[in-house]
């Protein structure tokens, strides 16, 4: 990745990820579109601005890892990997169809570049913590990024891993929390005591920053911050809007489960194209 992330490239990637995610949901009738749209900028910043990886060598032991712990945003991850060159973009047309390993939650080896099987919440951070520990033991330069949802912060295993990583001072580990303020059936701030989220992470031995989760430049800068200065792992609380990029989906939690019809697809693509 370039030393100075290319803002235009990241923005363009985020737009393409969103367009693909909308098409994939429409074509396959797969849900969780709002969740995919809210994290598209995080994915674009990571894959176009931060991660050291080579799509032609997806198993390189020295690569950086990115785990989509909020596995229900699989469409966004598959779109990202295809657009980044891990596999042909045309393959996305088979997403969630019979015989295709790209399911609505990422299965093991669903596609080149998928680092872990996810879909049940609270699994990605422990696995990512293990990968960060592995890199440390083996003396590899790899950094590990784990993208979680704000609803996912409900899971106790997240905090078990947070305590372990904080205790071990795994500075090569970075958690990004897509705080779109909704979980499946309500406001995430109302269902459980979520806030102050950054302070929670700090109290578990992490550094924590809050960023605009739709500002790809700010996201890339936060994620690329030199690891190891404090010796602590880093949590990035990304403030986002669920359904971001499509006016009639933004902050409307019906799009956790709704699938766009033909008219909605055309309107959504039109808005994204003009953005």
């Amino acid at each position: 990745m370039p030393a100075t992330p290319d803002i235009q490239a990241m923005r363009s990637a985020a737009r393409e990820i969103r367009k693909q995610a909308v098409r994939m949901s429409h074509r396959s009738h797969a849900t969780h579109l709002g969740s995919s749209l809210s994290c598209a900028d995080v994915l674009a910043a990571a894959y176009w601005g931060v991660l050291r990886l080579n799509p032609q060598a997806p198993d390189d032991p020295e690569r950086d890892r990115f785990i989509l712990s909020k596995g229900h945003a699989a469409a966004a991850l598959f779109a990202t990997l295809a657009l980044r060159g891990f596999f042909p973009v045309e393959d996305l047309e088979r997403y969630a169809s019979p015989g295709c390993h790209m399911e609505e939650h990422p299965s093991p080896k669903a596609a080149p570049g998928v680092e872990a099987a996810t879909g049940s919440l609270g699994h990605g951070l422990p696995i990512g913590t293990g990968m960060a520990l592995a890199a440390r033991i083996a003396g590899r330069p790899s950094r590990v990024f784990v993208l979680m949802g704000d609803g996912e912060q409900n899971e106790g295993s997240v905090w078990e891993a947070a305590m372990f990583a904080g205790g071990q001072r795994l500075a090569n580990l970075c958690a990004v929390i897509d705080c779109n303020r909704w979980q499946a059936t309500g406001r995430s701030g109302e269902i459980l005591a979520l806030e102050p989220l950054a302070d929670k992470w700090r109290s578990f031995g992490w550094d924590a920053v809050e960023v605009d989760g739709h500002d790809v430049g700010a996201l890339a800068t936060a994620m690329a911050a030199t690891p190891g200065e404090s010796g602590r792992p880093l949590a990035i609380v990304a403030r986002t809007v669920k359904g971001k990029g499509v006016s009639f989906m933004e902050d409307d939690n019906n799009w956790h489960y709704r699938v766009p019809n033909d008219d909605e697809l055309a309107r959504a693509l039109g808005e994204l194209e003009g953005a």
Binding site: A117, L125, P126, T129, G130, I137, S157, G167
Partner: protein, 306 residues
């Protein structure tokens, strides 16, 4: 079994730099040598089994061969979903070692019994379920388990159980060890009740009944060749295990029977029953209560023979 586990693991870790030991804040001093020899490959993960299991998956996905270790109920059902998804679904080489299997820690109460672990873990695709019958089998199974391409559950007892194998046997995962042949009865034992099974066969022999014993250290994959053989040659096949009646080793045999069709022998299942054990006292008392001592098992077998 506990000492054989740590001794073997330490020896394996000398030869294989991929072995990492994760433990859940138990085994005071037991791992001192491992820790001093391999300080970067030993982690006390605290009392947090879900994270420990996920960590192991992440290490395995990065090329390591992790072994997780804590008390059997906590390393099996406490973190069952992490075992199911992080280990089995991803099919990664992790050994999940549960100490205090069955009623080893009977006196600690039902929180510390593991009479459902075999049932839970053998239900999972890709998982191997290994229940050594003595310390010798612990060492041999662990050596093989760390070389397997996928996950294994190693169900340990406690310490200082009787050693059955005076010389190391040929041991392969999935292949039972026949300790003695029998014409009338075949006792198939899995796990730490092996000395009781041998004792029961001795008592039956004294009563003129020819009883064989096999140590079926692997519940999954099940040694179906052995089952086919002994169900055709004996009058009675006995399953013996320190595990509940539902879904354990005896349950696995019953499933096999349902699929394999009519057999000459019938099956008698000896196990810990269908209730939580309360006020059971120590392991010996609990075995008496459940009919899993040599004498109580022999009596039930004679009764079943009629």
């Amino acid at each position: 079994m506990r000492n054989a586990f740590v001794r073997t693991l330490t020896a394996l870790a000398r030869e294989d730099e991929r072995i990492v030991l994760l433990m859940g804040d138990i085994g005071n001093r037991m791992f001192d040598e491992f820790k001093s020899l391999f300080p970067t490959r030993f982690y006390n993960c605290g009392v947090a089994e879900a994270n420990m299991t996920g960590l192991a998956a992440g290490l395995a996905l990065s090329g390591f061969r992790p072994v997780t270790y804590t008390i059997a109920p906590f390393n099996s059902y406490r973190c069952f979903e992490q075992i199911r998804l992080d280990l089995c679904y991803q099919n990664v080489p992790v050994v999940v070692a549960g100490v205090g299997g069955g009623l080893s820690y009977a006196g600690l109460g039902a929180t510390h019994h593991s009479c459902e672990d075999i049932a839970c873990l053998r239900s999972l695709p890709n998982m191997r379920v290994l229940c050594p019958g003595d310390a010798v089998e612990v060492g041999l199974l662990l050596e093989q388990a760390v070389r397997e391409p996928g996950p294994s559950y190693l169900r340990l007892g406690k310490k200082n159980e009787p050693v059955i194998h005076q010389t190391p046997p040929q041991l392969a995962i999935g292949k039972a060890i026949e300790l003695r042949a029998g014409r009338d009865v075949m006792i198939l034992n899995t796990g730490n009740t092996l000395p009781e099974a041998v004792g029961a066969a001795d008592l039956l022999a004294e009563a003129g009944i020819s009883a064989g014993v096999a140590s079926v250290h692997t519940v999954k994959p099940l040694d179906t060749d052995l089952l086919a053989r002994c169900f055709q040659t004996c009058r009675l096949v006995v399953s013996m295990e320190e595990h509940g009646a539902a879904g354990g080793f005896g349950g696995a045999i019953a499933e096999w029977m349902a699929d394999a069709g009519p057999q000459k022998a019938r099956l008698l299942r000896l196990n810990t029953g269908r209730e939580f054990l309360a006020a059971s006292g120590n392991q010996r008392c609990a075995r008496e209560h459940c009919g899993l001592t040599a004498a109580t098992a022999a009596a039930r077998i004679r009764e079943a023979l009629g």
